[in-house]
């Protein structure tokens, strides 16, 4: 049983969920910042111990996976959110999610703006990211 999960293990574990490299890096950082209890649940799940059956704000993680059709990592994010900022989580979760399509044209327009204004991008340089192991 692993008490530490490397980024490599993390990304291999989630390979079937179809995430891009950028999404995996984002999710890894996000999971690392989880509340201690939720982080332990996540590590236990990666180690094959199944999903937790505890409730947070009267909901189990299985509700978000089975009913709301969230991918498991997203469901863990929601449980962490309900624990750490319940009012905002509930406010957003009670709404259908409208969609914003991000096209290549839009990205080019945005980049043109940033180049023109020599603005600092908020996109973090990958080399600066902390990709140390996820641990309990």
């Amino acid at each position: 049983m692993f008490k530490r999960i490397s980024y490599k293990q993390f990304s291999e574990f989630l390979i079937e969920d179809g995430y891009t490299e950028a999404e995996l890096r984002h999710l890894f950082k996000t999971v690392k910042s989880f509340d201690k209890e939720i982080k332990k649940w996540f590590i236990d799940w990666v180690n094959g111990e199944g999903l937790p059956s505890d409730e947070i704000e009267d909901k189990k993680i299985s509700f978000f996976i089975d009913e709301m059709k969230l991918k498991p990592v997203n469901a863990f994010i929601v449980m962490n959110w309900l624990k750490t900022d319940p009012e905002t989580a509930k406010y957003v979760l009670q709404r259908e999610v409208p969609v914003l399509e991000i096209t290549e044209d839009l990205k080019n327009t945005a980049q043109e703006y940033l180049d023109k204004h020599a603005a600092e991008s908020s996109a973090q340089d990958a080399s600066e990211e902390d990709m140390s192991d996820l641990c309990e």
């Binding site: 059709k69 991918k71 509930k90 406010y91 979760l93 327009t109 703006y113």
Partner: protein, 217 residues
């Protein structure tokens, strides 16, 4: 006027048909959370122009729908509902200076509740929830959510227009840069619900629309 339907990219967090039941379930469990949370408001700095537009949007809603918005939708036919949302969205686009946005209003089991694509200048709204949820005890919440969605998506149109046009809505350079940067590293709700909501483009749209609706329903 109903437009031809297209199958959209499946980026919904949950199926549209299950949406009404799930929302009702969550409202029943937690109570209806209809006030923009402080932690979300604190993330977003709105300008004087933003506040003026919020007030004008509230006024538009009152003028169009009267004091009991939910009742007006409940008692309408589906064609009337489509026309009301269509007229609301077009009026809002005019109010916001968005004269090049094409707006579709549909009822189907495929489309998302709200969709905006800036490259195509296209906004689409699916009012299935307003037709299927009539008997729901949370119908007012569904109506509120629909109007919120229209405002939310058109706010995105405003965001991108400010990036393209200096001075539009008097948005300062810092916010414009934050929105432009966010396009490059946008987080989808299907990947990370919390990250999605906290990012500059979405936090701004949620707060703006939420503040409009607090003053109305």
């Amino acid at each position: 006027m109903l437009m031809a339907l297209e199958i959209l990219i499946p980026v919904t967090v949950f199926a549209i048909g299950a949406g009404i039941k799930l929302i009702s379930n969550l409202i029943s469990t937690w109570g209806h959370k209809n006030v923009t949370p402080e932690s979300l408001r604190e993330q977003v700095e709105l300008s004087q122009t933003d506040h003026e537009k919020i007030d004008e949007t509230r006024e538009l809603i009152r003028d169009m729908f009267g004091d009991n918005v939910a009742e007006k939708f409940k008692n309408a036919s589906n064609v009337e509902r489509i026309n009301m949302i269509n007229e609301f969205a077009h009026s809002l686009a005019k109010l916001y200076g968005l004269d090049d946005v094409d707006i579709d209003v549909v009822i189907d089991n495929v489309s998302l509740c709200g969709y905006y694509c800036h490259s195509k200048h296209q906004a689409r709204f699916n009012i299935l929830a307003l037709t299927n949820g009539i008997d729901s005890p949370n119908y007012a919440a569904l109506v509120k959510d629909m109007l919120d969605t229209v405002i939310h998506e058109l706010r995105h149109a405003v965001q991108f227009k400010t990036v393209e046009n200096d001075g539009f809505w008097n948005v300062d350079d810092e916010r414009r840069a934050a929105w432009a940067s966010n396009v490059k590293n946008y987080i989808s709700a299907s990947t990370d619900m919390r990250g999605y909501m906290q990012q500059p483009l979405e936090a701004d749209a949620y707060v703006f629309a939420g503040l409009v609706m607090e003053g109305v329903i």
